[in-house]
């Protein structure tokens, strides 16, 4: 690890003094291998007002420092937004979830092996350097939203759930203004600047995530496919919440994980499914619209097949076409 100055933030204005650290579960990992080497760290863990989950209207305002564990275990979250609890519990290990925070989870970096290996070129780590993943090994890379400069996927489970739940990110800036950005607009695709991953400005601080009111009677799921049964990043994941009247899908929200540089959504798929009677034929047709014809890297070609199958299985489970078996599904109160 390169040496750095350590600052303990005592007020919001201190956050401009360096790289913010909270849980540190990703940042310290990256600092140890010098993928990140900040001159100064600003520890925000003792700032007031960022560690609570508060009722706001009929929704919830989740402080940025709320740990993954506290959020997954919250009685209100389990009842109204069970998909979020499920997604968090599907990620990392108990030890990591006790330390990792809500705000930090949104900002975790990709697990692309070329980003982690400082002897390889990477435009995300070192803009203009090139992308060693092209022509390299890449079964964890993205299917959608890549650019010629970066093929990496976003690894979060929680952010996929928050995207499906249409959450907003509350951001505080140095001018003491607060703004809210929808999850779908929070991340930016790689384009020509893969090092810029979201809309945060240099002195911005995530202060909270805001969940809109829960929708009662919806069936929710977070389905994750990975190489081993636990403590592994997703190859493909799907967060979904569906409202049904009889056999008809009256409303739905879906987001897809580990297939793009950020949680992926697809309006065309939602349009195909909405107000239709659940059927295998319908789900096949929606999968045709969802899955791209080619993969951006030969090693992720399998993700086209995996995404299609996972999508169909998930929709069957959500709509009752198959038994809603397994521990990943829940119904909102």
């Amino acid at each position: 690890m390169r040496n750095f100055e350590y600052h303990l933030a005592s007020s919001f204005k201190d956050v401009t003094n360096g790289q913010i650290i909270a849980g540190g579960t990703n940042l310290l990992d990256l600092m140890k291998i010098q993928v990140m080497a900040p001159d100064a760290l600003v520890d925000i863990t003792r700032l007031d007002g960022l560690s609570d989950i508060q009722v706001e209207g009929k929704g919830l305002r989740i402080g940025a420092l709320v740990t993954n564990t506290a959020l997954a275990n919250d009685a209100r979250v389990k009842a109204g937004w069970p998909l979020l609890s499920r997604a968090i519990l599907a990620g990392a290990s108990a030890q990591i979830r006790n330390k990792a925070t809500t705000g930090g989870n949104l900002l975790q970096r990709t697990r692309c092996p070329y980003f982690y290996d400082t002897s390889q070129s990477c435009n995300k780590r070192n803009p203009g350097d090139g992308c060693a993943a092209k022509g390299g090994a890449g079964r964890m890379l993205a299917l959608f939203g890549t650019s010629e400069h970066c093929l990496a996927a976003h690894p979060s489970d929680m952010a996929v759930a928050l995207t499906a739940l249409e959450a907003e990110v509350e951001i505080y800036n140095a001018a003491r203004e607060t703004r809210r950005v929808r999850m779908q607009e929070f991340y930016q695709g790689p384009g020509s600047r893969p090092d810029v991953e979201n809309v945060l400005g240099k002195d911005d601080l995530i202060t909270a995530i805001v969940l809109p009111p829960p929708r009662s009677g919806e069936r929710q799921i977070y389905r994750k496919v990975r190489d081993r049964a636990s403590y592994a990043f997703a190859l493909v994941s799907i967060a979904g919440s569906v409202a049904m009247r009889g056999e008809t899908i009256t409303d739905l929200r879906l987001a897809y994980g580990s297939v793009a540089p950020h949680p992926w959504t697809d309006r065309d798929v939602a349009r195909i499914l909405k107000n239709q009677k659940a059927s295998n034929e319908l789900f096949q047709r929606a999968a045709d619209a969802l899955v791209p014809e080619t993969a951006p890297h030969p090693d992720t070609d399998y993700k086209r097949i995996l995404l299609r199958r996972t999508f169909i299985a998930t929709m069957r489970q959500l709509t009752g076409l198959s038994d809603p078996e397994g521990s990943d599904i829940a119904r909102t109160n």
């Binding site: 579960t25 564990t69 290990s93 108990a94 030890q95 636990s230 403590y231 521990s327």
Partner: protein, 167 residues
């Protein structure tokens, strides 16, 4: 820089470099070598300790960020003369081969049993409100602790035995 931490009930003033991790502080500054360094990246769980009662990877904690915090290590839950229920069960069930991951396994298991008693769900829990100590729950809840000797079945038997004793 200087940080005060409370380890196994004793107050320690540590003089340290900003880069010092809690794992290095425990092992190198305080000579508490029970906590092990495995991967040093939060992947193996050998460094698991309790931070204010919750299990964390000590390798992913900066000492500077834990001023005033309470740490419990393997040295704090039992001694050679007075073994804890988990330590006795690991010996009884032979829940290890080389033993390197064992302190982390035991600290993790101690926290895990408390989480379960408090009603915390896991990824494999059928519903989010209640869960019991089944073999699959144990495997899921202990997945942050690797055992390269692969003594997993006996580790789970030891934890189940200790859980019975503590009932």
């Amino acid at each position: 820089m200087k940080t005060t931490i409370i380890v196994n009930g004793r107050l320690h003033d540590i003089e340290h470099d900003a880069r010092r991790t809690l794992l290095e502080t425990l092992r190198d500054d305080l000579d508490l070598a029970g906590t092990k360094k495995g991967c040093d990246h939060g992947q193996c769980g050998a460094c698991t300790v309790l931070l204010n009662g919750k299990r964390v990877n000590a390798c992913l904690c900066l000492t500077a960020m834990h001023d005033g915090d309470q740490i419990t290590t393997i040295e704090g839950i039992g001694s050679s003369e007075r073994l804890s229920a988990l330590q006795k069960a690991f010996i009884e069930k032979d829940g290890y081969q080389c033993g390197y991951c064992t302190p982390g396994q035991i600290m993790s298991a101690a926290a895990m049993l408390r989480e379960l008693r408090n009603g915390a769900p896991s990824y494999v829990s059928e519903d989010l409100e209640t869960s019991e100590l089944s073999d699959s729950e144990m495997a899921e809840r202990m997945s942050g602790n690797l055992c390269r000797c692969s003594a997993y079945p006996l580790i789970r038997e030891a934890i189940a035995m200790a859980a019975e004793v503590e009932k």
